[in-house]
């Protein structure tokens, strides 16, 4: 399994939509074959259309607020006394997380297809919040599917969605988290695909949704590449990019431009959710070498039992609490281009304490998983190594959890 250097990873699939011959594909009911085919044609046309790219860049700049800043965390670096620690504060993007890139692109696609309704799934509530923002901006009617358990633990984002005029559809089936929200959203699309466009909130789902999302979040690494050249005059010789991985949209976007580099120069480290200390229900299919299976229309590593029932996961981060993972990451794992590890809930909370003690940033619990591993490994590295963590979400949404777990003085 070898990654091609000249072609973007999202395009390195075979004619059946599989990366590396086995990850991805489109395992969907017959009813969705046609809408998926239509969407594929539209997307392939739009991404080659100069006017569409101009429009995308216009909204990325003027609406999302690109580029997000790239800064050195001096105090944290000094404290750990190892590698240099930098961060790209993607949470500065309009709405407070990277999900806005995918949401904006989907809203633009929806408009260009002449559809008036847009639906989406959400876990942490960011994908939903951003889709509701984009829908409002572009005059689309929006429904967001969200697990009942997540609605309870991510209230601030739910309030934002409702304020933007979106309808939140609570999902009570299964574990009542992201996995059930995605299933229910797909089911709704099966019934309404003639009038409604579906946005999948991460680089998961049938092939085309993986591609659209990866194409959208890649803006992060495009910006970073330029910022690195401005800062260092070149791409640094020793660099490590840490990113949390749930579905895998922020990490893929953060890495895309750098995948073609040798891993000795640029190492890619994905940090999955290890769940509560001593829990066995990890949302970490890559770290734990789970079996390959089919979830939400794609072949991937997935947490499941022997029979093939998808198993529940457990994480403090709703945004990482997903049994599967993007086929792109499965491919990056098998081709050994990226390394995957996990951090526990407690490690993420400790990282939050550490980072906010030394620095004036406020990363949500999802990127805190990445900070946890980055800080641990930084200590053992020399100062000429550049560590960059994608701070892809803002902790405002985690207020209640942080207050509950760490006490009032942290909020």
């Amino acid at each position: 399994m070898k990654i091609k250097k000249k072609l973007s990873l999202i395009d390195q699939h075979d004619k059946n939509g599989f990366w590396g011959g086995k990850f991805g594909g489109s395992f969907v009911p017959e009813t969705l074959k046609k809408p998926i085919e239509d969407l594929t044609l539209v997307f392939e046309k739009l991404r080659k259309n100069k006017n569409f790219i101009k429009k995308r860049d216009h909204y990325f700049k003027n609406y999302i607020g690109s580029p997000t800043s790239f800064v050195k965390l001096d105090n944290l670096t000094d404290h750990l006394n190892g590698a240099q620690i930098w961060t790209k504060i993607v949470s500065e993007a309009n709405g407070g997380a990277h999900k806005i890139y995918n949401a904006t692109v989907h809203a633009l696609i929806c408009k260009s297809m002449g559809k008036k309704y847009i639906i989406g799934d959400t876990g942490a509530g960011y994908a939903g919040k951003m889709l509701s923002m984009a829908a409002k901006k572009f005059g689309l009617k929006c429904k967001i599917f969200m697990g009942a358990k997540d609605i309870k633990r991510q209230k601030p984002n739910c309030d934002a969605m409702r304020k933007n005029g979106a309808e939140i559809i609570p999902v009570y089936t299964g574990s009542q988290t992201l996995i059930d929200a995605v299933s229910e959203c797909m089911r709704y699309w099966v019934s309404n695909c003639d009038t409604t466009h579906m946005c999948v909130g991460s680089t998961v789902g049938p092939n085309i949704f993986v591609k659209i999302c990866g194409w959208s979040t890649s803006q992060i690494s495009r910006e970073l590449k330029q910022q690195l050249c401005e800062q260092f005059g070149e791409i640094p010789k020793k660099m490590k990019l840490y990113n949390c991985v749930g579905g895998g949209s922020s990490s893929f976007g953060f890495w895309n431009e750098f995948i073609k580099y040798d891993k000795k120069q640029i190492e890619l480290i994905g940090v999955e959710a290890g769940g509560p200390y001593r829990s066995n229900k990890h949302a970490a299919p890559l770290t734990n070498n789970c079996k390959i299976g089919i979830l939400h229309g794609a072949m991937q590593y997935v947490v499941q039992n022997k029979d093939g029932q998808i198993e529940e996961t457990e994480s403090i981060s709703a945004g990482l609490d997903y049994s599967g993972v993007s086929p792109l990451h499965c491919y990056l794992k098998d081709s050994k281009r990226a390394r995957y590890v996990s951090a526990s809930d407690e490690e993420a909370l400790n990282a939050y304490k550490l980072v906010t003690k030394f620095e004036n940033i406020n990363p949500s619990l999802e990127p805190c998983h990445a900070f946890a591993i980055a800080c641990k490994e930084a200590k053992k590295l020399s100062r000429d190594t550049i560590i960059i963590v994608n701070s892809c979400g803002d902790a405002i949404k985690d207020r209640d959890i942080i207050k509950d777990r760490l006490g009032k003085r942290y909020v």
Partner: protein, 266 residues
């Protein structure tokens, strides 16, 4: 192919009515109960579809989801599903059984092992909801080799061109989805319109048998009488759920319902 499924259609046709197909979930609400339900509804049904439940079913509506989750919660496994079929076939050898479910369950069981075990248990046909044409070709071939019908679905969104290809690669039965919906949705198009679309599909290769499913209830079934066969699933699952919730006997209630459905077809 002369087999039990074809024979059932022939029998129904000789009685001037469509074949009645039922769908229930294996293990709902227990392994034993679902076998009893299967046995008793098979007195009126021509073909019995049995679902092997999956916990992320992207094509199923609320009723079948409820049945599936209940069956999984009560411990049904793939092995258990095959045991139910084997026992059923021991009591009723001539009644065709179609297994229906999602591909991950088959993938984890192993395609070859799944087909072999199906054969040994007496399965006559297989429907895989999320394995559409052309990706399903290798699996369909394997089924055919063991004389198991691989049944494909056609939906209102399927183009005529695509439908032709699907039908060409189909064995002897094709499943037409009545409307844009998951299973068990409210019938949002008139039965007249469904029959019009159905005839277009049937015309492609009139020798094959076409059944209509999704959203068919006691109220709507008569309007679709001119099809080769009709599938009722969610309505039966709903009846089973109601019976359990009310402390009534799901076996009696489900079989009474199927009996009634049958009378509407004569």
């Amino acid at each position: 192919m002369s087999n039990l499924i074809n024979l059932s259609f022939k029998n129904a046709k000789s009685e001037n009515r469509p074949a009645l197909l039922t769908f229930t979930v294996a293990g709902d609400n227990t392994k034993k109960k679902s076998l009893e339900i299967l046995k008793s509804i098979s007195n009126s049904a021509d073909i019995c579809e049995l679902g092997f439940p999956h916990n992320t079913p992207i094509g199923d509506g609320g009723q079948i989801q409820t049945s599936s989750y209940r069956a999984i919660k009560n411990g049904i496994t793939m092995s258990g599903v095959f045991e139910i079929i084997k026992k059923f076939k021991n009591s009723n050898l001539s009644k065709p059984v179609i297994l229906m479910g999602y591909y991950n369950m088959i993938y984890q069981y192993g395609e070859n092992k799944f087909i072999q075990r199906s054969k040994n248990s007496g399965v006559d046909g297989v429907i895989v909801v999320d394995l559409p044409w052309p990706e399903n070709k290798p699996f369909a071939k394997k089924c055919k080799k063991k004389k198991i019908s691989f049944i494909q679905l056609i939906s209102p969104t399927t183009s005529l061109k695509r439908a032709k290809k699907i039908i060409k690669d189909s064995h002897d039965m094709v499943y037409y989805i009545s409307m844009l919906s998951t299973t068990g949705g409210k019938l949002k198009v008139s039965t007249k319109k469904i029959m019009k679309n159905y005839r277009k599909i049937k015309k492609i290769d009139p020798k094959k048998n076409y059944v209509i499913g999704f959203g068919i209830t006691e109220k709507t079934i008569s309007g679709l009488k001119n099809a080769d066969g009709l599938v009722v699933g969610s309505a039966i699952c709903k009846k089973i759920t109601e019976s359990i919730n009310r402390g009534q006997n799901p076996v009696i209630n489900a079989s009474n319902m199927v009996k009634k459905l049958k009378t509407k077809l004569i």
